[in-house]
Each structure stands twice: as structure tokens, then as C-alpha cells.
Symmetry: C2
Subunit: 258 residues, 2 copies
């Protein structure tokens, strides 16, 4: 497949190199900053780097838009595409409707790898779920087939479901990270290494993910152990941020289980 | 070392078998329920099972108290020990002072493996930090040496530090588990599998634990992305429990980073 890569960030970088390894050709890499486009193009077989958004003369079956969420709509509005090129973005947040302001009549869809990508750390696409959405069945099939080259884990997910996944991901990932940060901060205040807790964290998370996390809940709140809870809040009285979180998470667990 | 194992639950089970494998002898297993003591004793080389608390005639260098937190003080009050036997509990919550009501003048300490144990799932003690506390240097050395047989990861942790570790563990483990449960519940309401999120959760957690979690924070709150936050809260308006958590965790992240 002949692919136009719009964006040269983490997602574009990993997708472009992985798709070329599967026999596709990235004909053009676009970035607002030509330098970035050139950096990625150098990793590829004969890709042209550009910072212009008129692609009407480019031969491409598919344009993949892998840029920040709030950059998608403005880019889509100014972009010129050949009439047969399908366009798809890689975002978890942005609904399919962002493509309604396309200049042409191109088919469009979503090609969303549900993962967090970092520069310089290798990506195992076979472990990554792809969430696919298409404006019609033909587009959806084409995007499905392309994703199948990278991963056996492909799902048809509409824009509403993708938003729900995003809410759930924020709660399970971003908020979890913040709890680790709060925990590390508490230990640092007393000069205790966060490393001490890591084996316990790993084991707790494996248990939660290998079972139903609603069944693996432990700790003072699920036992309604008022004495320990009061003890902990007393210790946290000079740490209002951790104290507030401790209270709201304990209340939430008490509401669920007692 | 000749060891008296007080308790026959998960911790006692894994500790007793691991300590015998290292050449120690468990002479007696005590449990309030004789059946439980017998079950564990059968796994050991020539251990006596009992539900009596007079151990004054038992030959033992060390008594390990591996029972529930609120059972430690009543047991300690009724127990009779030989005068040379050191006594240590395995609890993260209970302070050293629980041993001040011992009948004799035995030395005492804490022998706390910082991990969560499940029946029937094997334990790799070499990955588990041990937190040691002793009423005097001699006791601490003896407990340190015993823990060294099982793990290279031994720390001298006093009762105050152990309480801080427990607060930090509740935040990093019990609360994290509850966030997974909330996330799984949100997806279930829309008939989306929690499995879809697991690769993202695994990657997020590895990133947080391999770096400083304060540096790996991502998501709408740390970007102060008001539009996405309002969108998510709007979606959660019929889920008061998740809505309240979303608000308090978002507030906490905003306070830390913006």
C-alpha cells in the first residue's frame, strides 16, 4: 500500500517504520517542521519530506494523520488530497466527524493503536490492540487489513466507544500514575526509597489484571478497618493533597463494598 | 535455626516452607484451628501441630507470629515462651510495642516480608524486600541473617517507617486496584472488554516504575485540557462514583502540575 504519513512524532515514527517493514511504501512524510519530516524520511525507503499540505499530485492509497488532537481539524481543513486517497487519523479522542470538513470527497476513518509510544523505545505492535472505524464498509475493510499486518488484535470501535475507552484509560492509567507519584512523594518525605514498594506494586497489578480487579480489592477500606484509616489520615494531616485523595478513594471503595 | 510458627495462613505457609528449604527446622505450627495447623505441619519435616499457646517446653530459637493484625496482641498476652526464644511478627501495620505485654523477658522484633501472598501461588522470596526491626542490635542481627537466607533485599525499618510504607502501599496498590475496577466497570456498562486496555496499562506502569512517576504523568489533567476533562465528566454524569473520583484525581493532578 502507498501511504502518505501526516506527522513525524512518536506514533508516526513507529507506524511508518513498522508499515514499511511489512512491505508498504511511505511515499511522503509531512511535518509542520521540515526538519522533523526529514528525520523520519531518512529512516524510510525513498520517502519525500515536506511541510506543504497540498498532496493532490502525490500517489497514495491512504493518508495517515498522526498529529496532536487539536492539530487534526486545522490540518484537515487546509489539506488537498488526491480523490482516491482514504484519510484516517490515529487519535483516541477525536471523533470521525473531524473529517467532515475535508476539501474533497475522500473516504475517511480511524486507525488507532491503543498504546502509549515513546521515542527510542521499541514497539511490539503484535501486543497492541488496533481500534478501527470507517465511514463505510469498504474503508473499514481496508483499514482492518492494514492493521492486520501489524497485530492480530483488531477491533471495530465507533467514536462513542472510543471516547468511553479514553475515559477508562485516563482512570486506569493517568490516575494510577498519579497515585504512584503521590506514594513516591510520601516515601521521599521520610527518606524511604520507592524501590521498596515496587515488588508489591508489580504483584498487586498482575493479580488485578489476571483476575477481575473488583474481586482482588484488598486494604483497610474494603475491610472497613476504621482504626487503620483514621491512623493513616492522621499521618497525612500535613499533606493535604494526599489526604484529600486518600479520603475520596477510601469513600469510593467503602461505597462499592460495604 | 529452630523455629516456632504461630499461624497457618498464607504468610506462615510460604515462610515456613521456604525457611525449611534453607535448612531451618519448624518444630511447632500453632493455629487457633488445629486443622489448619495440621495442614501446614504436613508440608513440613516433623513439625508438631497445636492449638495451645503454652510453648514453654518447646525448643525454639525464634517464634514467628504470622497472624492477622488484630490477633497479635491477644495472642502475645496469653502466650508462654521459653526464656531464650526471640519473638517476631510479620505485620506491616503493627508496631514493635505490641510485644511489651509479653509474659516473659524475651527479646522481640519484626520480620516483615513486604509482599502480598496468595495460597497456591508460588512465591519468589528473592524478589521480596524484608523489613527488619529488633528491640536490640543482637535481635536485629539474628532476624537480618535469617531474612538473608531468603532474599538479598533486607532493610532495617523502624515502626514509624513501616507505618509510612503502609500508607504509601495503600495508595499505590489498593487505590490503584480500585481505579482498575472503576475502569473495568465503565467499559462493562458499554459492553467493551477490559482486555482492550491491558496492554496500555502494562506499558504505563512499566514506564512509571522504570522512571520517576512524577515525570511520566500524561493525560488531560497534566495538560490542563479543560475541553477533554469537561467531556469526560459529562460522559460520567450518570456514574456518580466514577465522577467523584475523576474530579478529585483531576484536581490533585492540576494542583501538582499547573
Amino acid at each position: 500500500m502507498n501511504i502518505l504519513m501526516i506527522g513525524a512524532g512518536n506514533v508516526a515514527w513507529h507506524l511508518a517504520t513498522a508499515l514499511e517493514q511489512k512491505g508498504n511504501h511511505i511515499s511522503v512524510v509531512y511535518s509542520r517542521h521540515l526538519d522533523n519530516a526529514q528525520l523520519l524520511a531518512q529512516q524510510l525507503n525513498n520517502a519525500l519530506a515536506t511541510n506543504h499540505t497540498n498532496f493532490s499530485e502525490v500517489g497514495a492509497d491512504l493518508a495517515i494523520v498522526a498529529v496532536k488532537d487539536d492539530a487534526i481539524a486545522p490540518l484537515v481543513a487546509q489539506m488537498q488530497l488526491p480523490p482516491q486517497t482514504i484519510i484516517a487519523h490515529t487519535s483516541g479522542n477525536t471523533p470521525l466527524q473531524v473529517f467532515e470538513h475535508l476539501n474533497g470527497n475522500n473516504d475517511f476513518g480511524v486507525f488507532y493503536p491503543l498504546q502509549t509510544f515513546s521515542k527510542n523505545s521499541p514497539v511490539d505492535f503484535t501486543a497492541i490492540p488496533f481500534c478501527i472505524e470507517g465511514i463505510n464498509a469498504n474503508t473499514e475493510t481496508i483499514l482492518f487489513d492494514l492493521a492486520s499486518q501489524l497485530s492480530p488484535n483488531i477491533h471495530s470501535i465507533n467514536s462513542f466507544e472510543r471516547k468511553v475507552l479514553h475515559v477508562a484509560a485516563v482512570i486506569a492509567c493517568n490516575f494510577t500514575n498519579h497515585l504512584f507519584a503521590q506514594s513516591a512523594h510520601i516515601l521521599q518525605r521520610e527518606d524511604i526509597s520507592f524501590d521498596l514498594l515496587k515488588p508489591l506494586i508489580q504483584e498487586t497489578i498482575q493479580k488485578a489484571l489476571n483476575n477481575d480487579p473488583r474481586e482482588t480489592q484488598t486494604g483497610p477500606a474494603v475491610r472497613n478497618d476504621t482504626k487503620v484509616i483514621q491512623d493513616h489520615l492522621q499521618y497525612l494531616k500535613n499533606n493535604p493533597s494526599a489526604n484529600a485523595l486518600y479520603t475520596s478513594l477510601t469513600d469510593s471503595i467503602l461505597q462499592w463494598y460495604t
